[in-house]
């Protein structure tokens, strides 16, 4: 009896540490049942949770419920495994510690940033959009620019950069939609937000140099990079003779950010 809660509390831990091995819920249940074959189900704790959770979260039964169900009847856990495979994450994310969640999101952001920097990168990574990356980039750009900007204007610069990045990307997206482009709103905002990454990098480099002849090529390079990375996603949006009209606001958006990156701290 004292063993069973221990094994149950261990099972989500197992889940998190080696993610790859326990994609299949069967394996978890086999492990637990083989380790503790005489496991009995507590009527107050687990029994209740089987009823409630299996209905409310039909998609993803917790490892706890899979173990208990599996001993009684295998058929339910089969349906559970189907539900689990449709989720983007192989494991249950409800029981994991917050640190694991944050780390996984950060890793996703890092993967997307890599793809933006790689000119031949896979654009489909950005289809799974998130706004964390753009937020981090936007905040770091706003902080860099406002710290290096003219004294006394740091608050207005921070606000300005924040507004330009978010409203700008939203307006550029709406513009593309209005012109008849087949783009998804948040996906496009996410892409545009990620594509300011080269400019953020140059803004960081510009802290250390105020030489115009170093800055000009760097900013132009970053601007071209941002534009190239973002335009390639617009190319799929079915704008035959209006591509210029859709791309021009994009150019304006990155140019004004690039200009701010260029002049800050000169």
């Amino acid at each position: 009896m004292p063993l069973s809660p221990l094994s149950e509390s261990e099972s989500p831990l197992h889940n998190n540490t080696n993610e790859d091995t326990f994609i299949n819920p069967f394996e978890i249940s086999d492990n637990v049942s083989s380790a503790d074959p005489n496991i009995t189900i507590e009527p107050d704790d687990v029994g209740l949770s089987t009823d409630n959770k299996s209905q409310t979260k039909a998609k993803s039964p917790t490892p706890k419920t899979t173990t208990t169900i599996n001993i009684e009847q295998t058929s339910t856990s089969v349906s559970g495994s189907i539900g689990q495979q449709t989720r983007p994450y192989a494991n249950d994310t409800l029981d994991e510690p917050v640190s694991v969640t944050i780390l996984r999101d950060l890793r996703n952001v890092a993967i997307k940033l890599q793809q933006v920097l790689n000119p031949k990168g896979r654009r489909d990574v950005l289809k799974d959009w998130d706004l964390w990356g753009p937020l981090i980039l936007c905040l770091s750009l706003a902080i860099i620019l406002s710290f290096n900007g003219p004294t006394g204007q740091d608050i207005s610069i921070f606000t300005g950069v924040f507004v330009i990045v978010w409203c700008g990307s939203a307006i550029v997206t709406i513009n593309a939609k209005l012109l008849g482009g087949a783009v998804s709103f948040f996906q496009s905002v996410c892409t545009l937000g990620y594509c300011i990454f080269p400019l953020v990098l140059i803004a960081f480099v510009n802290i250390f140099t105020s030489n115009i002849f170093i800055r000009i090529p760097l900013v132009i390079l970053a601007l071209g990079w941002s534009l190239y990375a973002s335009v390639s996603f617009l190319s799929a949006s079915h704008l035959a003779n209006r591509r210029t009209l859709a791309v021009y606001p994009l150019f304006l958006f990155y140019s004004v950010i690039g200009w701010m990156v260029f002049v800050t701290g000169l």
Binding site: Q153, S156, K177, L178, N241, P249, W259
Partner: protein, 273 residues
């Protein structure tokens, strides 16, 4: 010119049809016929059941049926009809505002767009920010850039290019001239095109050149606006409506002076050591 417009007509026609295929909407009766009208109407007479269509641009009638007609007011797709322009059309309209020979409202026809009236003022704002900063660096090398230029530019230019059309439209409505709001917005939006080259040339640190250019800019855009508003104003019965032209010109002069003193002056205080 007419050949260009014709090619545009053909281009746009396959856009709505593709969209309908995607959305499974039943436009089979309207668009099937409509696709033909736009081409037939050029050649044949208008004695079929579509007499009304001859009052409009053939594009417009079809577009309203297929694009905007079925969408509610709050959806993005509803406003897509105001962005139904090509690159060549936008460039043509912008150049018309630089050389205001023809009637702009007539050239736009029944296809007024909001693309130009939004992106031309936005471009002017950003370009003024860039050129004003460059001119500032020329006049005083050590001074940092001024972010206030950008926020001030946003406030001033958006207010003028979207606020004034509403005032003018309201006044015209009051005098009973039956104006079109989109036309007035388009008029004011496209009239700002002249400030793009002027703001670039005004980097030259000479006050005489700047004054001359501001006067040229005021003259061209002011002539463009009044020239196109006059036919609408003269629809009114009362002669007092002519006063509106004076008001429009006065407001435009005020706007030009604002640009001169805020962006083309660069009277920066020398840095105190």
């Amino acid at each position: 010119m007419s050949r260009e417009e014709y090619s545009v007509v053909v281009e746009m026609d396959d856009e709505p049809t593709r969209r309908e295929e995607l959305e499974f909407q039943d436009f089979s009766s309207t668009s099937g016929v409509g696709g033909k009208i736009s081409k037939d109407k050029q050649a044949s007479s208008n004695n079929d059941g579509f007499n009304n269509a001859s009052f409009f641009d053939s594009n417009q009638s079809i577009r309203n049926e297929s694009q905007g007609g079925s969408y509610p007011l709050w959806s993005i797709e509803y406003y897509a009809r105001y962005f139904d322009v090509d690159t060549t059309q936008v460039l043509e309209r912008a150049s018309k505002s630089l050389f205001p020979k023809d009637n702009f409202v007539e050239t736009v026809g029944s296809n007024p767009d909001l693309y130009g009236p939004f992106w031309i003022p936005t471009t002017v704002i950003f370009l003024l920010f860039v050129t004003a900063t460059i001119a500032k660096f020329i006049s005083d090398k050590d001074s940092p850039y001024d972010f206030i230029i950008l926020s001030f530019g946003f406030a001033a230019i958006y207010t003028y290019s979207f606020g004034m059309p509403f005032i003018v439209w309201g006044a015209l409505k009051y005098f009973g001239c039956s104006p079109s709001l989109l036309d007035t917005i388009g008029l004011y939006g496209y009239s700002l095109t002249i400030w793009l080259p002027i703001s670039i040339i005004n980097i030259i640190p000479s006050d005489t050149v700047r004054w001359a250019l501001v006067i040229v800019g005021f003259a061209i855009s002011g002539f463009f606006i009044t020239r196109n508003l006059y036919p609408i104003i003269s629809r009114a019965d009362s002669k007092t409506s002519r006063l509106l032209l004076i008001f429009v010109l006065a407001a435009h002069a005020a706007f030009a002076l604002l640009l001169k003193f805020k962006f083309f002056s660069y009277q920066w205080k020398p840095k105190s050591d």
